[in-house]
């Protein structure tokens, strides 16, 4: 049995792209978990999408062994994603650890997710091992960044290690510091089994693979276990650790991290944060678990061809098998026919799902503009959750319309404070405070509606800060606001999929911009197309798309026929991919016009 004294469990956390996966490469190489021959950059980023985009999307746990001062230590480390959409993966992995290696890119300094993730680690009571990374780079500025770490997080310069994931410099020291500083796991090995489910994935051959951290007792192969939340019992069929390939072992004892399989068919039966215990000798109390990540961004997905509806349903079900944070539900739109309302953690998450469906499943999809979830308190005293603008009741029935609010931290160069203030002000933000990291870098904190940030705030931030600003946010609750549903009528017919929820003070401007954009996206027709924006029955903006006046091929003689036929057929094929609203053809772009916020 592995003595917990020689186990260290830690996650690697950082802002996006600060080098977590690359440092993991070095840790794996240095400890011999992978050979030079099997090595490839960011070896733990194993999903196709991760490799393509060069970012980590899922957490990746791995077990390595390291000799230190004549003793062999088992190190269970977890590489985590840096992108804000996947922040829940960081929380999950931290709950399985006693320590966190906090990386800071020595060229970029402290960024928004550095702060956010460091606070997460502090909340979990973890020991932080701060590391200045990428010090091989000529433009690294370790002293200045160390000062930023002090002002932002109270981390002192003498605690900070210096390393490079690229050259391997300082990696031994990182391993040593982890062993010296991170506490060994505690827990009673003789108590009944109590293990935390911190992740899972679906394997089409083996069923659900459950990732666990043993908090008390021992998990054995063949053991009868119980998932405490649902009460379901299973027999452990296989048990093992990721090294990094799944490697079977006979048991996991207190303090250890690994996985087990128990012929669980349905991933929905395994709740992340659940407690695994011995069915015959159960523990008295379950672990506290996690808050489930709630999808915050919703949009409709419709097959362009209505016959693809069932295929889309099957593909969504497959995706969901491995991604419980993604939700979907059938819905019907008058304009678009049968489709699904899908919920995502953020825009990147949405983009990834859409890309998988279109690319891997070869589906032509119409996607409606993303919206956030709203709450409506009706006059009758019910609270409705609104994930689709179509479901907003008549104004007369609404007592209070509430929207999700986030606390958002911007980390920006001090010289851009003015521009950022203007940007946030336009988006109904409430200023909270400013913290100086150094003379030139500040953290600005605001509270603002989630709806104002999901689509393009990040791009806008990058543009006002010339690429140097970063942001991080978390939802803090719902607040009442003067919101209305903005409808669009295409040729006098309301198109439900084009409705949006906007603040009343913005409604007219948004309506005008939206119609202008629609006018650009919709081809001219054989008749004049009238576009209107309306709140209830009040028309607030109008645009016309002039009819085609003259469009006729002058010459069509013997030599022209083939060429013309091809041309006409091509144009006709383009029309097929559009959605018909009455007699008007709407291209996919029209449904996203709703997002346009610029004049």
């Amino acid at each position: 049995m592995t003595d917990p004294q020689f186990i260290r469990n830690f996650s690697i956390i950082a802002h996006i792209d600060h080098g977590k996966s690359t440092l993991c490469d070095q840790l794996l190489l240095k400890t011999g978990a992978i050979s030079e021959r099997d090595f490839r950059n960011q070896v733990l980023d194993s999903m196709d999408l991760e490799r393509e985009r060069g970012i980590t999307i899922r957490m990746h746990p791995v077990t390595v062994y390291h000799e230190y001062k004549g003793k062999t230590y088992e190190l269970n480390l977890v590489d985590t994603p840096g992108h804000v959409d996947f922040g829940y993966e960081v929380s999950r992995s931290l709950a399985a650890c006693e320590g966190a290696v906090l990386l800071v890119d020595a060229t970029q300094g402290v960024q928004a997710q550095t702060v956010a993730n460091a606070y997460l680690a502090i909340e979990h009571d973890l020991t932080i091992v701060p590391v200045l990374n990428k010090i091989d780079m000529a433009i690294a500025r370790p002293e200045a960044v160390a000062e930023e770490m002090d002002s932002a997080l109270g981390i002192k310069a003498d605690e900070i290690l210096h390393a490079s994931g690229k050259t391997g410099q300082g990696v031994e020291e990182v391993l040593a510091a982890v062993i010296d500083r991170v506490p060994a796991p505690s827990g009673d090995v003789n108590a009944p089994l109590k293990a935390l489910v911190y992740n899972s994935h679906f394997d089409s051959y083996k069923g659900v693979v459950v990732y666990v951290r043993v908090k008390e007792g021992t998990l054995r192969k063949g053991q009868r276990i119980k998932l405490m939340r649902g009460g379901n019992e299973y027999e452990v069929a296989d048990i093992g650790q990721f090294r990094p390939a799944p490697t079977s072992c006979s048991q996991l004892v207190v303090g250890q991290v690994g996985y087990f399989m128990a012929q669980i068919k349905n991933i929905a039966d395994v709740h992340i944060g659940d407690t695994v215990t011995d069915a015959l000798n159960p523990t008295a109390e379950a672990l506290p678990g996690y808050k489930e990540p709630k999808p915050m961004v919703f949009s409709g997905l419709y097959p362009t061809n209505n016959n693809d509806f069932e295929t889309l349903r099957e593909e969504l079900a497959k995706l969901r098998l491995n991604d419980s944070s993604f939700v979907y539900q059938p819905e019907v739109s008058e304009g678009l026919g049968f489709g699904f309302r899908c919920g995502f953690l953020g825009m990147l998450h949405r983009e990834i799902i859409q890309q998988r469906l279109e690319r891997d499943c070869d589906l032509d999809l119409v996607q409606t503009a993303p919206n956030v979830t709203y709450e409506i308190l009706t006059r009758r005293g019910e609270t409705l959750l609104i994930d689709n603008p179509q479901k907003v009741p008549d104004a007369g029935q609404i007592e209070e319309f509430r929207e999700p609010i986030v606390r958002i931290n911007f980390l920006i160069p001090a010289e851009n404070i003015g521009d950022l203030m203007t940007l946030c002000h336009e988006r109904r933000a409430v200023y909270v405070r400013t913290e100086y990291l150094s003379q030139s870098r500040v953290i600005l904190v605001f509270e603002m509606p989630l709806a104002e940030i999901i689509y393009d705030l990040y791009d806008k931030l990058k543009s006002v800060t010339h690429g140097y600003g970063t942001m991080d946010y978390e939802v803090i609750g719902f607040r009442p606001a003067d919101l209305v549903r903005l409808d669009v009528l295409v040729h006098h017919k309301r198109v439900d999929a084009l409705s949006t929820i906007v603040h009343r003070s913005n409604a007219e401007r948004r309506g005008r911009i939206l119609l202008k954009k629609l006018r650009e996206e919709i081809d001219r027709h054989l008749f004049e197309v009238v576009l209107q924006a309306a709140i209830g029955s009040r028309i607030i903006a109008r645009e016309n798309i002039a009819a085609i006046k003259k469009n006729v091929t002058a010459k069509c003689y013997g030599g022209d026929i083939t060429r013309k036929r091809k041309l006409w057929a091509k144009q006709a094929a383009g029309k097929k991919r559009m959605k018909m609203i009455g007699q008007v053809e709407l291209p996919q772009e029209a449904f996203l016009a709703v997002l346009e916020t610029d004049e």
């Binding site: 085609i548 069509c556 003689y557």
Partner: protein, 366 residues
């Protein structure tokens, strides 16, 4: 039959033409003869169309030789139609005499405009003054005359266009073609437009011009029998109606297209290649295609729609094996309701409004 030689390359023209290579004419006639000889035996035809290029750019002897070759391989039916395209400045009396001698009974004259400014934008070689005498020469020889006109030329006003139409009418042609100017990709005019050196007329102006042609020519008794073609009763171009019925036709010469036994093919557009291959007795076909029955039916549908007679349901089914209404379904009803198509139960044809936006209508029927 295609003769690619021209005195000068006009700014809007994307036909298979060459200017300034007249030394190749004799070899070209040899090559044409060789291509015709691949027929094996003479094929009697009902209509002949000698176009280009400018067939009348040839010297009288060359023209004579060409027509003799044609008569040998493609003898014309006694009631046949034989059209030759000509430019006003190329039609001398002796050339007209050659044409008449070989049974040409129709001349299609590329007048394009009677305004020097318009001709200049089009980069045409002839002067307006050359048109009337050319028409008279053809008339005197007893041949029918068709005039080509172009509208929608940059700088052309509605008044200019009316004047062009009236002058053309004053010459009493049997047939008139009015073409909306098309900026064909790669032509000098297209390049000028792309660089902004030339500002095209607005769609609304083009429309008014087209409508003026329809009104004026209609008043004078012309039948608007195809999108761009008008004729007095009984004087329609029989040859061109074959194209719009989607029937079969032969084609010989540089870049020529043919539709024989359900196969469409075109000859190479490269003059040197054409000469070499034809003279070596090889095929000069560059590409060919055979459509699936349904595609062919749809193609028939859209070309026939260009005719004022439109599509005759029974004849369409006989020709294509498809029932019109099954091919286009409810879209027909919609377009009839919107006033772009007319349906009398037997025929479906474009309305006047429909003619102006024929391409958009066609897209909806494919």
């Amino acid at each position: 039959m295609h003769v690619p030689f021209c005195a000068h390359h006009c700014g809007y023209c994307d036909f298979a033409v060459v200017a300034g290579r007249d030394e190749l004419i004799d070899r070209y006639l040899d090559a044409l003869e060789a291509e015709l000889a691949r027929l094996g035996e003479a094929a009697s035809v009902e209509t002949l169309f000698l176009g280009g290029g400018t067939p009348t750019h040839l010297a009288p002897e060359q023209l004579d030789r060409l027509l003799a070759t044609l008569a040998r391989w493609l003898p014309l039916h006694p009631q046949g139609e034989f059209t030759v395209e000509a430019n006003p400045d190329t039609l001398s009396d002796d050339k007209v005499a050659v044409l008449a001698r070989w049974g040409v009974n129709r001349v299609s004259l590329g007048a394009q405009s009677f305004a020097s400014a318009t001709l200049a934008v089009l980069e045409r070689a002839h002067q307006p003054e050359a048109i009337a005498p050319a028409v008279q020469r053809v008339r005197r020889a007893g041949l029918m005359v068709s005039l080509d006109l172009i509208f929608g030329v940059p700088g052309q006003s509605l008044q200019d266009w009316r004047a062009d139409l009236l002058q053309a009418l004053s010459l009493q042609p049997d047939h008139l073609s009015t073409y909306g100017l098309t900026y064909e990709k790669g032509t000098p005019l297209w390049k000028q437009r792309r660089r902004g050196q030339l500002i095209p007329l607005s769609e609304a102006d083009e429309l008014t011009m087209y409508e003026l042609a329809m009104d004026l020519l209609g008043e004078r008794g012309f039948e608007h029998y195809e999108i761009s073609n008008f004729a007095f009763s009984g004087r329609r171009s029989r040859h061109n109606q074959v194209y719009w019925a989607n029937h079969a036709y032969h084609g010989f010469g540089l870049g020529a297209a043919r539709y024989v036994h359900g196969v469409r093919s075109v000859n190479t557009r490269d003059l040197d290649g054409y000469l070499r291959k034809a003279l070596a007795g090889e095929s000069v076909t560059r590409a060919s295609e055979q459509l699936a029955p349904e595609e062919r039916a749809r193609e028939t549908l859209v070309v026939q729609l260009r005719r004022s007679d439109g599509i005759e349901r029974a004849a369409f089914t006989e020709q294509t094996g498809f029932v019109l209404d099954e091919l286009i379904g409810t879209r027909l009803t919609t377009l009839v309701e919107q006033g772009f198509l007319h349906d009398d139960g037997q025929h479906v044809c474009l309305t006047r409004r429909g003619k102006c936006v024929a391409d958009a209508v066609i897209e909806r029927l494919l």
